[in-house]
Protein backbone atom coordinates (compact mmCIF):
# COMPACT_ATOMS: atom_id res chain seq x y z
CA UNK A 1 0.00 0.00 0.00
CA UNK A 2 1.72 3.13 -1.16
CA UNK A 3 -0.50 6.03 -0.21
CA UNK A 4 2.24 8.53 0.28
CA UNK A 5 4.96 9.27 -2.21
CA UNK A 6 8.00 10.01 -0.10
CA UNK A 7 8.78 13.30 -1.81
CA UNK A 8 5.65 14.84 -0.36
CA UNK A 9 7.18 14.47 3.11
CA UNK A 10 10.55 15.98 2.21
CA UNK A 11 11.70 19.38 1.05
CA UNK A 12 14.13 19.96 -1.82
CA UNK A 13 17.07 19.36 0.51
CA UNK A 14 15.68 16.06 1.71
CA UNK A 15 14.62 17.39 5.12
CA UNK A 16 11.36 16.30 6.69
CA UNK A 17 8.56 18.84 6.15
CA UNK A 18 5.55 16.61 6.80
CA UNK A 19 5.58 13.34 8.75
CA UNK A 20 3.00 11.08 7.16
CA UNK A 21 4.54 7.62 6.97
CA UNK A 22 7.79 5.76 7.57
CA UNK A 23 7.64 4.54 4.00
CA UNK A 24 10.29 6.07 1.77
CA UNK A 25 12.30 7.65 4.61
CA UNK A 26 15.99 6.80 4.82
CA UNK A 27 17.81 5.12 7.65
CA UNK A 28 19.86 8.32 8.07
CA UNK A 29 16.76 10.43 8.53
CA UNK A 30 15.18 8.02 11.03
CA UNK A 31 18.47 7.92 12.95
CA UNK A 32 18.64 11.72 12.97
CA UNK A 33 15.09 11.75 14.35
CA UNK A 34 16.03 9.32 17.13
CA UNK A 35 19.18 11.32 17.97
CA UNK A 36 17.15 14.53 18.19
CA UNK A 37 14.57 12.78 20.37
CA UNK A 38 17.38 11.68 22.71
CA UNK A 39 18.28 15.34 23.21
CA UNK A 40 14.65 16.26 23.90
CA UNK A 41 14.36 13.42 26.39
CA UNK A 42 16.97 15.21 28.48
CA UNK A 43 14.83 18.40 28.42
CA UNK A 44 12.04 16.42 30.14
CA UNK A 45 14.29 15.87 33.14
CA UNK A 46 15.03 19.52 33.86
CA UNK A 47 13.46 21.85 36.38
CA UNK A 48 11.97 23.81 33.46
CA UNK A 49 10.84 21.22 30.90
CA UNK A 50 10.48 23.66 28.09
CA UNK A 51 12.58 25.07 25.27
CA UNK A 52 11.78 28.20 23.24
CA UNK A 53 12.10 26.58 19.79
CA UNK A 54 8.53 26.99 18.50
CA UNK A 55 7.67 30.19 20.36
CA UNK A 56 4.96 32.08 18.49
CA UNK A 57 3.98 29.06 16.36
CA UNK A 58 0.51 27.57 16.43
CA UNK A 59 0.01 23.83 16.41
CA UNK A 60 -3.49 22.47 15.71
CA UNK A 61 -4.33 19.01 16.96
CA UNK A 62 -7.06 17.96 14.55
CA UNK A 63 -8.56 14.73 15.80
CA UNK A 64 -11.36 13.13 13.81
CA UNK A 65 -11.01 10.04 15.97
CA UNK A 66 -10.80 9.89 19.73
CA UNK A 67 -7.48 9.36 21.39
CA UNK A 68 -6.43 10.45 24.83
CA UNK A 69 -2.81 9.41 25.00
CA UNK A 70 -1.73 10.40 21.52
CA UNK A 71 -3.47 13.76 21.68
CA UNK A 72 -2.18 14.64 25.14
CA UNK A 73 1.40 13.65 24.34
CA UNK A 74 1.29 15.72 21.14
CA UNK A 75 -0.14 18.60 23.16
CA UNK A 76 2.55 18.27 25.80
CA UNK A 77 5.24 18.01 23.13
CA UNK A 78 4.04 21.21 21.44
CA UNK A 79 3.82 23.03 24.77
CA UNK A 80 7.33 21.93 25.74
CA UNK A 81 8.47 23.50 22.48
CA UNK A 82 6.68 26.72 23.56
CA UNK A 83 4.11 26.55 20.75
CA UNK A 84 0.50 27.57 21.20
CA UNK A 85 -1.80 24.58 20.91
CA UNK A 86 -5.34 24.34 19.62
CA UNK A 87 -7.27 21.12 20.09
CA UNK A 88 -10.04 20.39 17.61
CA UNK A 89 -12.05 17.25 18.13
CA UNK A 90 -14.20 16.73 15.13
CA UNK A 91 -16.86 14.10 14.95
CA UNK A 92 -17.14 12.32 11.66
CA UNK A 93 -20.50 10.81 12.40
CA UNK A 94 -22.83 13.17 10.57
CA UNK A 95 -21.03 14.33 7.47
CA UNK A 96 -19.33 12.40 4.76
CA UNK A 97 -15.55 12.30 4.84
CA UNK A 98 -14.89 14.55 1.87
CA UNK A 99 -17.08 17.39 3.06
CA UNK A 100 -15.82 17.30 6.60
CA UNK A 101 -12.18 17.37 5.60
CA UNK A 102 -12.73 20.13 3.08
CA UNK A 103 -14.63 22.36 5.50
CA UNK A 104 -12.12 21.74 8.22
CA UNK A 105 -9.23 22.59 5.93
CA UNK A 106 -10.71 25.94 5.07
CA UNK A 107 -11.18 26.79 8.71
CA UNK A 108 -7.69 25.74 9.62
CA UNK A 109 -6.17 27.71 6.79
CA UNK A 110 -7.98 30.78 8.05
CA UNK A 111 -6.44 30.32 11.50
CA UNK A 112 -2.93 30.63 10.06
CA UNK A 113 -1.73 27.52 11.84
CA UNK A 114 1.89 26.45 11.36
CA UNK A 115 1.35 22.76 11.95
CA UNK A 116 -1.50 20.26 11.88
CA UNK A 117 -1.39 17.07 13.89
CA UNK A 118 -4.02 14.89 12.28
CA UNK A 119 -5.73 11.73 13.38
CA UNK A 120 -8.41 10.29 11.14
CA UNK A 121 -10.22 7.00 10.74
CA UNK A 122 -9.61 6.89 7.01
CA UNK A 123 -6.31 5.74 5.54
CA UNK A 124 -4.66 8.54 3.61
CA UNK A 125 -6.36 11.44 5.41
CA UNK A 126 -3.12 13.11 6.56
CA UNK A 127 -1.69 12.69 3.09
CA UNK A 128 -4.77 14.34 1.61
CA UNK A 129 -4.40 17.30 3.95
CA UNK A 130 -0.67 17.66 3.28
CA UNK A 131 -1.39 17.85 -0.43
CA UNK A 132 -4.38 20.16 -0.23
CA UNK A 133 -3.59 22.63 2.56
CA UNK A 134 -1.23 25.52 1.85
CA UNK A 135 2.25 24.04 1.54
CA UNK A 136 3.70 26.06 4.41
CA UNK A 137 1.78 24.05 6.98
CA UNK A 138 3.57 21.00 8.38
CA UNK A 139 1.28 17.98 8.65
CA UNK A 140 2.02 15.28 11.21
CA UNK A 141 0.14 12.00 10.92
CA UNK A 142 -1.13 10.93 14.34
CA UNK A 143 -2.76 7.82 12.91
CA UNK A 144 -4.79 7.34 9.72
CA UNK A 145 -7.11 4.34 9.42
CA UNK A 146 -5.24 1.08 9.04
CA UNK A 147 -2.42 2.82 7.22
CA UNK A 148 0.23 4.44 9.41
CA UNK A 149 1.07 5.74 12.85
CA UNK A 150 4.64 6.91 12.29
CA UNK A 151 5.23 8.74 15.58
CA UNK A 152 4.17 5.62 17.49
CA UNK A 153 6.63 3.58 15.42
CA UNK A 154 9.44 6.03 16.13
CA UNK A 155 8.76 6.08 19.86
CA UNK A 156 8.86 2.28 19.75
CA UNK A 157 12.21 2.49 17.93
CA UNK A 158 13.52 4.96 20.52
CA UNK A 159 12.42 2.58 23.28
CA UNK A 160 14.24 -0.33 21.66
CA UNK A 161 17.37 1.71 20.94
CA UNK A 162 17.58 3.11 24.46
CA UNK A 163 17.24 -0.34 26.00
CA UNK A 164 19.16 -2.41 23.47
CA UNK A 165 21.60 0.03 21.86
CA UNK A 166 20.91 -0.74 18.21
CA UNK A 167 18.91 -2.93 15.85
CA UNK A 168 21.65 -4.98 14.21
CA UNK A 169 21.29 -8.26 16.11
CA UNK A 170 17.73 -8.10 17.36
CA UNK A 171 14.73 -10.38 17.01
CA UNK A 172 11.53 -8.40 17.39
CA UNK A 173 8.06 -9.96 17.49
CA UNK A 174 4.86 -8.04 16.81
CA UNK A 175 1.87 -9.91 18.19
CA UNK A 176 -1.88 -9.59 17.69
CA UNK A 177 -4.24 -7.91 15.26
CA UNK A 178 -1.79 -7.09 12.47
CA UNK A 179 -4.58 -6.71 9.91
CA UNK A 180 -6.15 -3.63 11.45
CA UNK A 181 -3.02 -2.18 13.01
CA UNK A 182 -1.42 0.98 11.67
CA UNK A 183 1.10 0.61 14.48
CA UNK A 184 2.19 -2.79 13.15
CA UNK A 185 2.61 -1.47 9.61
CA UNK A 186 4.69 1.50 10.68
CA UNK A 187 6.76 -0.62 13.04
CA UNK A 188 7.57 -3.22 10.40
CA UNK A 189 8.75 -0.46 8.04
CA UNK A 190 10.78 1.30 10.72
CA UNK A 191 12.47 -1.88 11.95
CA UNK A 192 13.33 -2.88 8.40
CA UNK A 193 14.74 0.56 7.57
CA UNK A 194 16.82 0.64 10.74
CA UNK A 195 18.38 -2.73 9.90
CA UNK A 196 16.62 -5.15 12.26
CA UNK A 197 17.47 -8.59 10.80
CA UNK A 198 14.63 -10.65 12.33
CA UNK A 199 11.15 -9.15 12.36
CA UNK A 200 8.40 -11.60 13.26
CA UNK A 201 4.66 -11.13 13.15
CA UNK A 202 2.53 -13.46 15.19
CA UNK A 203 -1.22 -13.59 14.55
CA UNK A 204 -4.10 -15.85 13.59
CA UNK A 205 -4.58 -16.13 9.83
CA UNK A 206 -7.76 -14.07 10.00
CA UNK A 207 -5.85 -11.10 11.45
CA UNK A 208 -3.02 -11.00 8.92
CA UNK A 209 -3.17 -8.66 5.91
CA UNK A 210 -2.68 -9.94 2.40
CA UNK A 211 0.80 -9.34 1.03
CA UNK A 212 2.43 -9.35 4.45
CA UNK A 213 5.51 -10.85 2.77
CA UNK A 214 6.38 -7.52 1.14
CA UNK A 215 7.49 -6.21 4.54
CA UNK A 216 10.30 -8.77 4.78
CA UNK A 217 8.97 -10.34 7.96
CA UNK A 218 8.58 -13.90 9.19
CA UNK A 219 5.00 -14.91 9.85
CA UNK A 220 3.96 -17.20 12.70
CA UNK A 221 0.49 -18.44 13.57
CA UNK A 222 1.69 -20.09 16.77
CA UNK A 223 2.72 -17.69 19.54
CA UNK A 224 4.71 -20.39 21.28
CA UNK A 225 6.89 -20.91 18.24
CA UNK A 226 7.15 -17.27 17.23
CA UNK A 227 8.22 -15.92 20.61
CA UNK A 228 11.14 -18.27 20.95
CA UNK A 229 14.32 -16.31 21.84
CA UNK A 230 13.06 -12.90 20.78
CA UNK A 231 14.63 -9.77 22.29
CA UNK A 232 11.54 -7.58 22.05
CA UNK A 233 7.81 -8.34 22.12
CA UNK A 234 5.49 -5.65 20.81
CA UNK A 235 1.91 -6.50 21.75
CA UNK A 236 -0.95 -4.87 19.87
CA UNK A 237 -4.28 -3.88 21.34
CA UNK A 238 -7.11 -6.20 20.40
CA UNK A 239 -9.96 -4.00 19.32
CA UNK A 240 -13.08 -5.55 20.75
CA UNK A 241 -15.20 -4.52 17.82
CA UNK A 242 -13.29 -7.11 15.77
CA UNK A 243 -15.01 -9.86 17.70
CA UNK A 244 -18.34 -8.89 16.30
CA UNK A 245 -17.09 -9.06 12.74
CA UNK A 246 -16.45 -12.78 13.12
CA UNK A 247 -12.69 -12.58 12.68
CA UNK A 248 -12.17 -14.06 16.13
CA UNK A 249 -14.06 -16.73 18.04
CA UNK A 250 -13.94 -15.10 21.49
CA UNK A 251 -11.78 -13.02 23.79
CA UNK A 252 -10.91 -15.94 26.01
CA UNK A 253 -9.97 -18.08 23.03
CA UNK A 254 -7.69 -15.30 21.74
CA UNK A 255 -6.07 -14.87 25.14
CA UNK A 256 -5.44 -18.60 25.38
CA UNK A 257 -3.72 -18.69 21.98
CA UNK A 258 -2.12 -15.23 21.65
CA UNK A 259 -2.12 -13.62 25.09
CA UNK A 260 1.24 -12.60 26.52
CA UNK A 261 1.41 -14.26 29.94
CA UNK A 262 4.27 -15.06 32.28
CA UNK A 263 4.26 -18.53 30.77
CA UNK A 264 4.47 -17.43 27.11
CA UNK A 265 6.90 -14.60 27.86
CA UNK A 266 9.26 -17.20 29.33
CA UNK A 267 9.79 -18.50 25.78
CA UNK A 268 11.45 -15.21 24.80
CA UNK A 269 14.95 -14.24 25.94
CA UNK A 270 15.10 -13.87 29.74
CA UNK A 271 15.52 -10.09 29.52
CA UNK A 272 13.17 -9.55 26.55
CA UNK A 273 11.45 -6.15 26.51
CA UNK A 274 7.65 -6.07 26.67
CA UNK A 275 6.09 -3.20 24.75
CA UNK A 276 2.52 -2.12 24.00
CA UNK A 277 1.22 1.05 22.32
CA UNK A 278 -1.67 1.28 24.79
CA UNK A 279 -4.32 1.35 25.93
CA UNK A 280 -3.80 -2.18 27.18
CA UNK A 281 -6.60 -4.69 27.64
CA UNK A 282 -5.56 -6.63 30.72
CA UNK A 283 -6.47 -10.26 30.36
CA UNK A 284 -7.31 -9.89 26.66
CA UNK A 285 -3.92 -9.62 25.00
CA UNK A 286 -1.64 -9.26 28.00
CA UNK A 287 -1.58 -10.56 31.55
CA UNK A 288 -1.53 -7.90 34.27
CA UNK A 289 1.58 -9.37 35.88
CA UNK A 290 3.42 -9.04 32.55
CA UNK A 291 2.17 -5.52 31.82
CA UNK A 292 3.32 -4.39 35.28
CA UNK A 293 6.34 -6.70 35.43
CA UNK A 294 10.07 -5.95 35.41
CA UNK A 295 10.43 -6.55 31.66
CA UNK A 296 7.66 -4.11 30.75
CA UNK A 297 8.67 -0.73 29.31
CA UNK A 298 5.10 0.26 28.48
CA UNK A 299 5.13 3.43 30.59
CA UNK A 300 8.61 4.37 29.37
CA UNK A 301 7.11 4.34 25.88
CA UNK A 302 4.73 7.12 26.91
CA UNK A 303 7.62 9.26 28.19
CA UNK A 304 9.67 8.60 25.06
CA UNK A 305 6.61 9.48 22.97
CA UNK A 306 6.76 13.09 24.11
CA UNK A 307 10.44 13.42 23.13
CA UNK A 308 9.85 11.77 19.74
CA UNK A 309 6.95 14.12 19.00
CA UNK A 310 9.07 17.13 19.99
CA UNK A 311 11.74 15.91 17.56
CA UNK A 312 9.24 15.35 14.73
CA UNK A 313 7.65 18.77 15.24
CA UNK A 314 10.91 20.70 15.33
CA UNK A 315 12.32 18.80 12.34
CA UNK A 316 9.19 19.33 10.26
CA UNK A 317 9.21 23.01 11.14
CA UNK A 318 12.87 23.16 10.09
CA UNK A 319 12.02 21.53 6.77
CA UNK A 320 9.21 24.02 6.17
CA UNK A 321 11.43 26.98 7.06
CA UNK A 322 14.19 25.85 4.73
CA UNK A 323 11.75 25.20 1.89
CA UNK A 324 10.24 28.67 2.29
CA UNK A 325 13.73 30.17 1.98
CA UNK A 326 14.49 28.07 -1.08
CA UNK A 327 11.25 29.30 -2.64
CA UNK A 328 12.14 32.91 -1.89
CA UNK A 329 15.59 32.52 -3.39
CA UNK A 330 14.08 30.99 -6.51
CA UNK A 331 11.75 33.96 -6.99
Amino acid sequence: MSLTPHHLQLNQQGQLRHFLTIEGLSRELLTELLDTADSFLEVGERAVKKVPLLRGKTVCNVFFENSTRTRTTFELAAKRLSADVLNLNISTSSTSKGETLYDTLQNLEAMAADMFVVRHGDSGAAHFIAERVCPDVAVINAGDGNHAHPTQAMLDMLTIRRHRGDFENLSVAIVGDILHSRVARSNMLALKTLGCPDIRVIAPRTLLPEGIDQYGVRVFNDLRVGLRDVDVVIMLRLQKERMQSGLLPSESEFYKLYGLTRETLALAKPDALVMHPGPINRGVEIESEVADGPQSVILKQVTYGIAVRMAVMSMAMTGQTTQRQLNQEAN
Binding site: Q15, E32, D35, T36, D38, S39, F40, L41, E42, V43, R46, A47, V48, K50, V51, P52, L53, L54, S314, M315, M317, T318, G319, T321, T322, Q325
Partner: protein, 170 residues
Protein backbone atom coordinates in the same frame (compact mmCIF):
# COMPACT_ATOMS: atom_id res chain seq x y z
CA UNK B 1 47.31 38.62 8.34
CA UNK B 2 48.61 38.01 11.83
CA UNK B 3 49.59 34.49 12.83
CA UNK B 4 47.23 32.79 15.23
CA UNK B 5 48.32 32.19 18.81
CA UNK B 6 49.15 28.69 20.04
CA UNK B 7 46.25 27.24 22.00
CA UNK B 8 48.41 25.68 24.71
CA UNK B 9 49.93 28.96 25.82
CA UNK B 10 46.52 30.64 25.80
CA UNK B 11 45.14 27.84 27.97
CA UNK B 12 47.91 28.12 30.52
CA UNK B 13 47.43 31.88 30.85
CA UNK B 14 43.64 31.37 31.13
CA UNK B 15 44.15 28.77 33.84
CA UNK B 16 46.22 31.29 35.82
CA UNK B 17 43.57 33.97 35.38
CA UNK B 18 40.83 31.55 36.37
CA UNK B 19 42.64 30.48 39.56
CA UNK B 20 43.12 34.14 40.52
CA UNK B 21 39.47 34.85 39.72
CA UNK B 22 38.23 31.97 41.87
CA UNK B 23 40.51 33.05 44.74
CA UNK B 24 39.41 36.67 44.55
CA UNK B 25 35.75 35.64 44.60
CA UNK B 26 36.37 32.98 47.24
CA UNK B 27 34.75 30.35 45.07
CA UNK B 28 35.82 26.91 46.27
CA UNK B 29 33.26 24.66 44.56
CA UNK B 30 32.81 25.76 40.94
CA UNK B 31 31.17 23.62 38.25
CA UNK B 32 32.43 23.71 34.65
CA UNK B 33 30.07 23.88 31.69
CA UNK B 34 31.42 23.65 28.14
CA UNK B 35 29.37 24.69 25.11
CA UNK B 36 29.44 22.13 22.29
CA UNK B 37 31.73 21.49 20.53
CA UNK B 38 34.84 23.65 20.87
CA UNK B 39 33.81 25.00 24.27
CA UNK B 40 33.76 21.47 25.68
CA UNK B 41 37.37 20.93 24.62
CA UNK B 42 38.49 24.21 26.21
CA UNK B 43 36.46 23.45 29.35
CA UNK B 44 38.04 19.99 29.59
CA UNK B 45 41.54 21.49 29.49
CA UNK B 46 40.80 24.19 32.07
CA UNK B 47 38.95 21.76 34.29
CA UNK B 48 41.95 19.43 34.35
CA UNK B 49 44.36 22.30 35.03
CA UNK B 50 42.38 24.29 37.60
CA UNK B 51 39.90 22.09 39.45
CA UNK B 52 39.90 18.44 38.37
CA UNK B 53 37.60 17.53 41.28
CA UNK B 54 34.86 19.93 40.17
CA UNK B 55 31.83 18.60 38.29
CA UNK B 56 31.75 19.14 34.56
CA UNK B 57 28.78 19.45 32.22
CA UNK B 58 28.06 20.20 28.57
CA UNK B 59 25.45 22.29 26.78
CA UNK B 60 24.17 22.01 23.24
CA UNK B 61 22.34 25.28 22.77
CA UNK B 62 20.52 24.26 19.56
CA UNK B 63 17.07 24.40 21.18
CA UNK B 64 17.74 27.95 22.41
CA UNK B 65 19.15 29.61 19.31
CA UNK B 66 17.53 32.84 18.16
CA UNK B 67 17.76 31.94 14.47
CA UNK B 68 15.46 28.89 14.35
CA UNK B 69 13.12 31.00 12.22
CA UNK B 70 15.93 31.45 9.65
CA UNK B 71 17.84 28.19 9.85
CA UNK B 72 15.84 25.62 11.78
CA UNK B 73 17.55 22.93 13.79
CA UNK B 74 21.10 21.87 12.96
CA UNK B 75 21.33 18.32 11.68
CA UNK B 76 23.04 17.07 14.80
CA UNK B 77 21.88 18.04 18.26
CA UNK B 78 23.56 16.42 21.26
CA UNK B 79 21.86 16.06 24.61
CA UNK B 80 22.93 18.67 27.14
CA UNK B 81 24.29 17.03 30.24
CA UNK B 82 24.61 18.78 33.57
CA UNK B 83 25.27 16.03 36.12
CA UNK B 84 24.99 18.37 39.11
CA UNK B 85 22.46 20.75 40.62
CA UNK B 86 22.66 24.24 39.15
CA UNK B 87 20.89 25.97 42.05
CA UNK B 88 23.33 28.11 44.08
CA UNK B 89 26.27 26.78 42.09
CA UNK B 90 29.15 28.94 40.78
CA UNK B 91 29.24 28.09 37.09
CA UNK B 92 32.30 28.47 34.88
CA UNK B 93 30.76 28.74 31.40
CA UNK B 94 33.28 28.01 28.64
CA UNK B 95 33.19 28.58 24.89
CA UNK B 96 35.87 28.63 22.22
CA UNK B 97 35.16 31.74 20.15
CA UNK B 98 33.13 34.72 21.34
CA UNK B 99 31.74 36.42 18.28
CA UNK B 100 28.24 37.97 18.32
CA UNK B 101 27.43 36.88 21.87
CA UNK B 102 24.26 35.11 20.71
CA UNK B 103 25.52 31.66 21.64
CA UNK B 104 26.24 32.85 25.16
CA UNK B 105 22.79 34.44 25.41
CA UNK B 106 21.28 31.07 24.43
CA UNK B 107 23.54 29.19 26.86
CA UNK B 108 22.53 31.47 29.75
CA UNK B 109 18.86 30.92 28.98
CA UNK B 110 19.37 27.17 28.86
CA UNK B 111 21.41 27.19 32.08
CA UNK B 112 18.63 29.00 33.91
CA UNK B 113 16.13 26.33 32.88
CA UNK B 114 18.14 23.96 35.09
CA UNK B 115 18.07 26.23 38.10
CA UNK B 116 19.35 29.49 39.59
CA UNK B 117 23.13 29.55 39.72
CA UNK B 118 24.95 31.62 42.36
CA UNK B 119 27.11 33.15 39.62
CA UNK B 120 28.22 32.58 36.05
CA UNK B 121 31.77 33.33 34.95
CA UNK B 122 32.28 33.47 31.19
CA UNK B 123 35.52 32.06 29.83
CA UNK B 124 36.41 32.12 26.14
CA UNK B 125 39.54 31.25 24.24
CA UNK B 126 39.17 33.96 21.60
CA UNK B 127 37.17 37.18 21.25
CA UNK B 128 36.92 38.37 17.67
CA UNK B 129 35.44 41.75 18.58
CA UNK B 130 32.16 41.32 16.70
CA UNK B 131 29.73 41.42 19.60
CA UNK B 132 26.12 42.26 18.93
CA UNK B 133 24.96 41.82 22.52
CA UNK B 134 26.22 43.26 25.80
CA UNK B 135 28.16 40.10 26.65
CA UNK B 136 31.86 40.09 27.54
CA UNK B 137 34.20 37.35 28.70
CA UNK B 138 35.45 37.49 32.30
CA UNK B 139 38.45 35.42 31.34
CA UNK B 140 39.88 35.60 27.85
CA UNK B 141 42.71 33.88 26.02
CA UNK B 142 43.24 36.46 23.28
CA UNK B 143 41.49 39.08 21.17
CA UNK B 144 41.78 38.86 17.42
CA UNK B 145 40.92 41.51 14.87
CA UNK B 146 39.48 39.83 11.81
CA UNK B 147 38.82 41.32 8.44
CA UNK B 148 35.45 41.11 6.72
CA UNK B 149 34.47 37.51 5.96
CA UNK B 150 37.18 35.94 8.09
CA UNK B 151 36.32 33.31 10.66
CA UNK B 152 38.42 31.66 13.30
CA UNK B 153 37.73 28.06 14.20
CA UNK B 154 39.02 25.72 16.85
CA UNK B 155 39.78 22.18 15.72
CA UNK B 156 40.33 19.30 18.14
CA UNK B 157 39.94 17.55 20.47
CA UNK B 158 43.66 16.74 20.39
CA UNK B 159 45.69 18.67 19.59
CA UNK B 160 43.69 21.87 19.87
CA UNK B 161 44.46 24.18 17.01
CA UNK B 162 43.13 27.50 15.72
CA UNK B 163 42.54 27.96 12.03
CA UNK B 164 41.53 31.00 10.04
CA UNK B 165 39.09 30.66 7.16
CA UNK B 166 38.14 33.28 4.64
CA UNK B 167 34.62 33.26 3.29
CA UNK B 168 35.79 35.17 0.22
CA UNK B 169 38.21 32.42 -0.82
CA UNK B 170 35.95 29.50 0.02
Amino acid sequence: MSTLPAVDSLLSSMADQLRAHLDARQISDPAFVGIHTGGVWVADALHAAVAPEAPMGTLDIAFYRDDFEQHGLPQRVRPSELPFGVDDRHIILVDDVLMTGRTIRAALNELFDYGRPASVTLVTLIDVDARQLPIRADILGASLALTEGQRVKLTGPAPLHLTLTDAATN
